[in-house]
């Protein structure tokens, strides 16, 4: 029977294929009495199992380190220690010797007791660590019993992966040639499943309740990575319907990619810099493949967040140079470390303990109190600047003093580099993010002392409408089409242009096809968006005139509510681009 499940779309695309189901494996634990004469043999068998598992974990660790970086592989250090735990080994051997339990049963008893004691742990993060112990137990039991590794080793034909969740050890096992799409029960946008799917460029939906229970190995399955829907055992009608949308999507994708070499320019010649947002050197390939004009936002903080200690100046120089070289001669805008808010690393200052982290120690406020970290990053930026075209951008600016303090430090760094004899690009442009209402209000003052503005739409909307997106009760208030937001954007662009500097936007809404028309009409010079969305937004820009988009904005600016503006826009867009906007959000529904 056909079943439809709704989850979270984390990687776009539509795929129809056979399910490869990975259930949370429970290995059958044998229970036999050991012949008293053969106790030593049983203990030797147990130790051989430990050795084999040790080798296996080392192997997994190595493979994962190559595929996803050393940091992802670190957790296996702890797995190795679990395996070497003297206390657990002694207890197990004692049960074998004194009670003549077989190795598997004895081990299971010992680990079982340890897992039981996790029940009294209150801290949810620490409690979850029992999953790692279970992971090691499963491996060990599997090796002792010689039961087949069913995980992903047997994945040998193109399939859609269906699982409760994907662990780091799973992603290391998967042969990417055979993965068509991914569907999981757990996970959000940053889960391993989501990261894997996006890096492979395949469709993925996560957060699907009851998925593995309802799916059998080999079932036909549709993953719709646009709508966040999974269909199990689709009927003929559903299949035909999805087959059509898949072809349609593929065709559109092909057409859009033919635009790759063309600039994002309106019919009447207004050119928009259409660039990509990236968070690591690995993302540059996709940006280039999708035809990005450089990078409008390099979120350097992910380099810091994905590790357990501060990256050194040399490590930073290397990573930054790589990005610049990959994208040369195009520009890359490096945003200085932006932590706090919802981005933390235990070794960096801001913690989750602040009452109002979004109003707290974040962005430039953090950097200006941690000169050591800030200075090192600025040095790395400048030293990398000879590898391509680099621009620097400060986040979370609310006042001019912050810009001046940062610039003073940058000057100091320049002098230091001069003294040490380092070469760097002397004309690096320095701009700021406009993401607080305060920055918009004094945009004219800020524009005099900066080289460019980039509007950070996510935060600007959140601060302007005083809405926490993550709070389900009020998230409907998060409305990019709110007249207040549109006015702030207009004011920023006017102030920037008045002072002769360019104004861009980096943020999710700039990738919304409907919204991008408004942004062109509002006079933005640059849009920096997810690489996936570049072809689509480019096509829209190339199909409109600057004049008509300006007219559209003038009209929208006379309207009083977001719903009114959205209705007006989507009506127009449906007429102009029926294929792009169909199946999108209903008009009037908050995006």
């Amino acid at each position: 029977m056909e079943v439809r499940l709704r989850g979270i779309a984390v990687s776009p695309g539509i795929v129809i294929g056979k399910a490869y189901v990975r259930r949370p494996e429970e290995v059958v634990v044998p229970n036999f009495v050991v012949d008293p004469e053969k106790v030593d043999q049983e203990i030797a068998r147990f130790r051989a199992g430990l050795d084999q598992t040790h080798g296996e974990i080392l192997e997994t660790q190595k493979r994962l380190a190559e595929q996803m970086g050393e940091d992802h592989a670190k957790i296996f250090d702890a797995h190795l220690l679990i395996l070497q735990d003297t206390k657990a080994i002694e207890d197990t051997e004692q049960l074998i010797r004194d009670q003549l339990m077989c190795a598997e049963f004895a081990l299971n008893r010992v680990i079982g007791r340890i897992l039981d004691s996790f029940d009294r742990i209150a801290d949810p993060y620490l409690k979850e660590r029992s999953a790692d112990i279970q992971d090691v137990r499963r491996r060990l039991l599997r090796n002792l019993t010689g039961q087949e590794v069913r995980a992903f080793g047997a994945l040998n034909q193109e399939s859609v992966i269906v699982a409760h969740d994907l662990a780091p050890s799973d992603t290391a096992m998967i042969d990417r040639r055979f993965v068509l799409g991914v569907a999981t029960e757990l996970g959000g946008r940053t889960s391993h499943a989501a990261i894997l799917a996006r890096s492979y460029g395949i469709a993925a939906v996560v957060g699907l309740e009851g998925l593995t229970e309802q799916t059998q190995h080999g079932d036909e399955i549709i993953v719709d990575g646009h709508a966040g829907v999974v269909v199990l055992r689709p009927t003929g009608d559903t299949l035909r319907e999805y087959e059509r949308s898949r072809q349609h999507f593929d065709e559109l994708e092909r057409q859009l990619l033919t635009l790759k070499e063309f600039p994002a320019i309106t019919l009447d010649g207004r050119k928009i810099e259409l660039s990509a947002n990236i968070k690591s050197p690995e993302d540059t390939a996709l940006a280039i493949a999708k035809g990005a004009r450089g990078v409008g936002l390099y979120r350097t903080e992910y380099f810091f967040l994905s590790r357990s200690e501060l990256p050194s100046e040399e490590e930073q120089v290397e990573a930054y140079s790589r990005v610049l070289r990959d994208l040369a001669p195009e520009t890359v805008i490096f945003r200085t470390l932006d932590v706090g808010g919802d981005k933390f690393a235990s070794y960096l200052g801001p913690g989750r303990s602040e009452l109002n982290p979004f109003l707290g120690w974040r962005g430039i406020r953090f950097l200006l109190t941690r000169h050591d970290i800030f200075r090192t990053q600025l040095r790395a930026f400048l030293r990398a600047s000879t590898s391509g075209k680099l621009k620097i951008m400060y986040p979370m600016i609310t006042g001019l003093e912050e810009v001046r303090a940062a610039s003073a430090l940058l000057d100091e760094v320049r002098r230091g580099l001069d003294a040490e004899g380092y070469a760097y690009d002397p004309d690096v442009e320095v701009g700021i993010m406009i993401e607080t209402p305060s920055a918009v209000a004094i945009a004219d003052l800020l524009a005099r002392e900066t080289d460019f503005f980039s509007i950070g739409s996510n935060d600007l909307i959140q601060y302007t409408l005083a809405v926490d997106r993550g709070n389900a009760r009020i998230s409907y208030l998060y409305e990019p089409m709110h007249p207040s937001v549109l006015r702030l954007i207009r004011n920023t662009v006017e102030a920037g242009h008045e002072a002769g500097i360019w104004v861009g936007m980096c943020g999710e809404v700039a990738a919304d096809p409907l919204y991008s028309v408004l942004l062109v009409g509002l006079g933005l010079d640059e849009l920096s968006i997810s690489a996936y969305m570049i072809p689509e937004v480019k096509r829209i820009i190339r199909s409109i005139t600057f004049d008509e988009s300006k007219m559209l904005v003038r009209r929208a600016m006379t309207m009083s509510t977001p719903a009114e503006i959205r209705r007006y826009l989507s009506g127009l867009m449906h007429e102009r681009f029926p294929d792009l906007v169909s199946g999108d959000n209903d008009p009037g529904e908050p995006a």
Binding site: L81, A88, R120, A122, Y125, L126, G351
Partner: protein, 88 residues
């Protein structure tokens, strides 16, 4: 026997990675090492499985005791490690 009380200060508490660091340090010493919290009786300080079952979150008190030829150095090193956020 040497005994010292410390407070867990790193953000995530005594989780798998910080416990790994603890075990690796403890294993350098010959003394027997035990760790307890206010609620949980002492566990072997060289056993990662023992340490993680303490469930010691940030802010919680740990009692580290060592018994043996190098007990003073062991307690010193381990208390220092906890105070230095396990190097995280």
């Amino acid at each position: 026997m040497t005994r010292r009380e410390v407070v867990v200060q790193n953000e995530l508490g005594l989780h798998l990675r910080s416990a790994s660091t603890f075990v690796r340090t403890a294993s350098r010493f010959r003394s027997q090492i035990r760790v307890a919290t206010a609620l949980v009786p002492p566990v072997d300080g060289k056993s990662i499985l023992g340490l993680v079952t303490l469930g010691a979150a940030t802010g919680e008190r740990l009692v580290i005791t060592a018994d043996g030829p190098d007990e003073a150095e062991a307690v010193e090193a381990l208390a220092g490690l906890v105070n230095a956020h396990f190097g995280e």
